[in-house]
Point group: C2
Chain length 187, copies 2
Amino acid sequence: MDTATNPWKILHSRPVYENNWIGVTEFDVINPGGGKGIYGKVHFKNIAVGAIALDEAFNTYLVGQYRFPIDQYSWEIPEGGGDPSEDPLASAQRELLEETGLVAGHWEKILTMHLSNSISDEITMLYLARKLEQRTPMPEETEELVIRKLPFEEAYQMVVRGEITDAMSVATIQKVQLMILEGKISK
Amino acid sequence: MDTATNPWKILHSRPVYENNWIGVTEFDVINPGGGKGIYGKVHFKNIAVGAIALDEAFNTYLVGQYRFPIDQYSWEIPEGGGDPSEDPLASAQRELLEETGLVAGHWEKILTMHLSNSISDEITMLYLARKLEQRTPMPEETEELVIRKLPFEEAYQMVVRGEITDAMSVATIQKVQLMILEGKISK
């Protein structure tokens, strides 16, 4: 099986929309089955990053905000976007500091995911932040964030009950719970 | 804290792109901080569904395919999209049958997620399928799929090693691993 070669053939491409965050392109393609069709692809200009902070007592931090695209309030781990020219770890450190005021002495990348690979090239890198020190949050002007410090176990139960639905947050909280159960994280 | 009211004000909206799967709209907005700006939202016409199948010996099934938007080969749980007028469970059952030829006697919804809530309204519903019966796969003409039956533990290790990056698959496989560790799934 050849997994290295793209079986989709591109006949033509048209940029159809662009803003500071995304660009949408429509491609005329021949699909792997040999049929002609179109493919609308959403390109993300930033790399999505997230940071789950865990203190020595296994408390974590969630950020609450109203998410415009889903028209819903959402509780999430601290998240944001970073320019691809920037080290994603540096982006995660900046987002954690901006949103919660935390700096961390220990960082570990625990997940890399493609968030919606049937339509977009959006990639996310997710980090565990430990050895925390509290400074002053400095949220962006566009954001209206609520920060909540809570036991990690409560955050995990929010995932189990379906009260956290953001994919980056769900996968990261599951991953940390697995690391705890597997003895890879200790207090 | 008022979590029910959208703090984003919409001044104007313009549809900028549409195909059979997505619609992109640009909104003139006033953000929660009071500043004027634009927001490009990607609306998904289908609900994303996924089905992780687990037989009595704890084998599962992965689907391999080249994903056009990320220009990469990807191993995933069986996934697809369903019209919002259709029961997402029925969509998941259809996708599992089409891609793997499996029908299942027991279905359980185990996750609901928003995949990329800063840009899109894409929602996914993810199911665990058990009591499996093998019939004949019937993939869509556009798809060139490879099906792999393997021990669930191997699929979980592919997630741990970062060889599975699709967010729906990562979260679903982690969820099943947690359910196994918590004694919620038995052979």
